[in-house]
């Protein structure tokens, strides 16, 4: 088990440039590269797999510099986006491919293929042809094929995007179980934040060839370093305003909507800030409450019932807020309807404070 490190890894082609990237991925970690298309996440994956050569920097696997190594000499395997299973071979032969290349004994190949096929629950498919497989089955075959010779690192290139949305959550859960059993290092590339949150031990959020933030899903969700990261990892409401210290240790943000109390953590902030509020951290009240510090009045413009929660669109006099309330919370109150007057509130510590980004 080795640590995988990118050291000032750079790549430019055409108008795209991957800015010097430094990452250290721990052995056995499930790490995700998350970002919109064109952010450079796939480029990083292709550099790690050896399909592209970097224009600068190094890739280290343990103490070994693998930057210039051909793909077939790296102990790193890939599960491709469309799986790239060999159509001329059976499922068994697909999985056995890397072992056959190594010239292992027949009995050894049989044993190891059987083992991995049982782990990925495709044991019954051994004699099938590739075109007879469903999407979920293909994905497992691709996973088994990549895992069978025990790579140090497994790269996953949007492995769920070819699946039906209804399948994805279940397949992800299965994938997580398999990964934990295998114990290799996994690197997932995805543009789906839910996927990254569900699977990763840590993730990196990328945009325009730059890595914006690296951290655990919780850290990135609750303490984003940047407005893009905050909005990419999940829906967010923004209030722009000016930060001021009224009394020592007591900070407020004054905006066109009013003045709100905030809790300032250690980081230095400019005068113009964005206050970010997650929909599920906001609550709806039917009556004005004097005990609440932060209050906004508005009207329910739209509501969507989603079973476990209900999502509201609230129009205040000059802004629109998304609020998501758990169903239990909702049952405690009288049912709310469209065009009802409501008050929005949130806990002071739930507001995320960031420097204001350039207006969109």
């Amino acid at each position: 088990m080795y640590e995988l490190r990118c050291e000032s890894l750079e790549k430019s082609f055409g108008s795209f440039a991957l800015q010097p990237l430094d990452l250290a991925i721990q052995p056995g970690e499930f790490f995700s590269l998350l970002g919109p298309s064109g952010c450079g996440k796939t480029t990083v994956l292709r550099l790690l797999g050896g399909f592209e050569q970097p224009t600068g920097g190094r890739i280290m696997l343990g103490d070994r510099d693998i930057t210039r190594l051909q793909p077939h000499k790296r102990n790193i395997h890939t599960v491709f986006q469309r799986y790239a299973l060999f159509p001329h071979l059976s499922v068994f032969e697909n999985v056995a491919f890397s072992l056959r290349l190594k010239g292992l004994a027949k009995t050894e190949i049989q044993r190891r293929v059987d083992e991995i096929m049982n782990l990925t629950e495709i044991g019954t498919l051994a004699d099938r042809r590739i075109h007879q497989l469903s999407g979920g089955q293909s994905q497992r075959v691709a996973l088994a094929r990549a895992l069978v010779d025990q790579p140090a690192v497994l790269l996953l290139d949007e492995p769920f995007s070819a699946l039906d949305p209804s399948l994805r959550v279940r397949v992800r859960e299965e994938m997580r179980t398999i990964c934990k059993k295998v114990g290799a290092t996994f690197i997932l590339v995805t543009h789906d934040q839910e996927e990254a949150l569900q699977l990763s031990d840590r993730l990196a959020v990328m945009k325009d060839g730059r890595c914006l933030q690296v951290g655990t899903p919780k850290a990135i969700y609750e303490d984003p370093s940047d407005a893009f990261v905050a909005s990419f990892i999940g829906p967010v409401n923004e209030i722009r305003g000016e930060l001021a210290e009224n009394k020592p240790g007591e900070w407020t943000v004054s905006s066109a909507m009013g003045t709100f109390k905030v809790r300032k953590n250690g980081i230095a902030l400019p005068r113009n800030v964005s206050m970010l509020l997650r929909p599920e951290k906001m609550r709806l009240l039917r009556q004005r409450s004097n005990t609440q510090e932060n209050l906004l009045e508005g009207e329910i413009q739209d509501l969507t019932y989603l079973g476990s929660r209900t999502e509201y669109t609230i129009k205040t006099h000059d802004n629109v807020f998304k609020v998501s309330e758990a169903e239990l919370e909702r049952q405690k109150k009288r049912l709310l309807n469209r065009r009802d007057r409501v008050f929005l509130t949130w806990k002071t510590e739930d507001a995320i404070l960031l420097p204001q980004s350039a207006p969109k």
Partner: protein, 290 residues
């Protein structure tokens, strides 16, 4: 065959045109040749419709078997050469940018807008004893007497390769074009070097294109007449030439027909065996559910 005709009623009119074309220009002439091969040549060189197997007995004489062997040998050699030259060309074209690809395909086919006979004489003017090649190397003092290329076995071989190359490039090109490049990356990723990627992944996936292309050129090569006639000279016999000789020089149509039938049947059996083999290989699973 009966099944085919019965089902014909369900065929659309466009299929009828194809069927009519097939019958009048392919099936019927073949049946006529087949019928003639069992007839007898009369004294005056006409056909006398008396049933005999003598023509076939003669066709399997050692002399003709030798010609057949030589024809197979040359055609096979030329097909393999076409493959060796054509595969890289097809590979390049399949991977080139659309503009380069269009240009390449056009360059490949431009010679074929020239009359076939003219092209063969073009070869003569390059490779003949007084041709461009020999004149050049003699001027350079590399040799005193011209290298004999024309009117040798090599001349025929050269003509076959030159003339059939594009017909092999195209099917291989279209197979390679359909080949999913990510399969190549997957193979490399799993530890295959370039050669292993080529033999274990690329080749098996374009095998069909190679097989079709090879048959496409090998079959007409076997029956080729003009190329061996012009480039092979008098001493090099080729099956196609022997057949034409029987028809037009010897006026022995029944025997010429027997030779032609043996060749056609042989090729048909070869193709049929290959098809059966392919089907068995794909197995019943290929019709399974997706």
């Amino acid at each position: 065959m009966k099944k085919l005709v019965l089902r014909l009623r369900d065929w659309p009119p466009s299929a009828w045109i194809f069927f009519a074309w097939l019958v009048t220009l392919s099936v019927l002439p073949f049946l006529i040749i087949l019928a003639m091969s069992f007839a007898v040549r009369s004294e005056s060189g006409l056909i006398s419709w008396t049933f005999t197997l003598a023509n076939y007995e003669r066709a399997f004489h050692l002399v003709y078997l030798k010609v057949l062997a030589k024809t197979i040998f040359l055609s096979l050699g030329a097909t393999i050469t076409c493959l060796l030259v054509g595969f890289p060309v097809a590979y390049y074209l399949a991977r080139a940018t659309p503009e380069k690809r269009q240009m390449g395909l056009m360059l490949l086919f431009i010679p074929f807008w020239t009359n076939f006979i003219l092209r063969i004489y073009g070869i003569v003017s390059i490779f003949g004893n007084h041709g461009l090649l020999n004149q050049t190397i003699m001027r350079l003092g590399l040799t005193d007497s011209p290298i004999e290329i024309l009117y040798t076995r090599f001349g025929i071989y050269l003509g076959l390769v030159y003339n059939y190359l594009p017909f092999l490039v195209v099917p291989i090109f279209s197979a390679l074009e359909k080949f999913d490049l990510s399969l190549r990356e997957a193979a490399m990723d799993l530890g295959a070097n370039r050669w292993q990627t080529f033999t274990r992944v690329l080749l098996p996936n374009v095998r069909e294109g190679i097989a079709i292309g090879s048959l496409f050129v090998f079959i007409p090569m076997m029956g080729e007449y003009v190329i061996p006639d012009i480039l092979g000279g008098a001493k090099e016999v080729f099956l196609g030439r022997v057949m034409v000789e029987q028809f037009f020089t010897m006026q022995d149509w029944p025997f010429g027909s027997a030779l032609a039938s043996v060749l056609s049947m042989g090729l048909m059996i070869a193709v049929w065996v290959r098809m059966r083999f392919e089907q068995r290989k794909a197995g019943p699973t290929s019709h399974g559910l997706r």
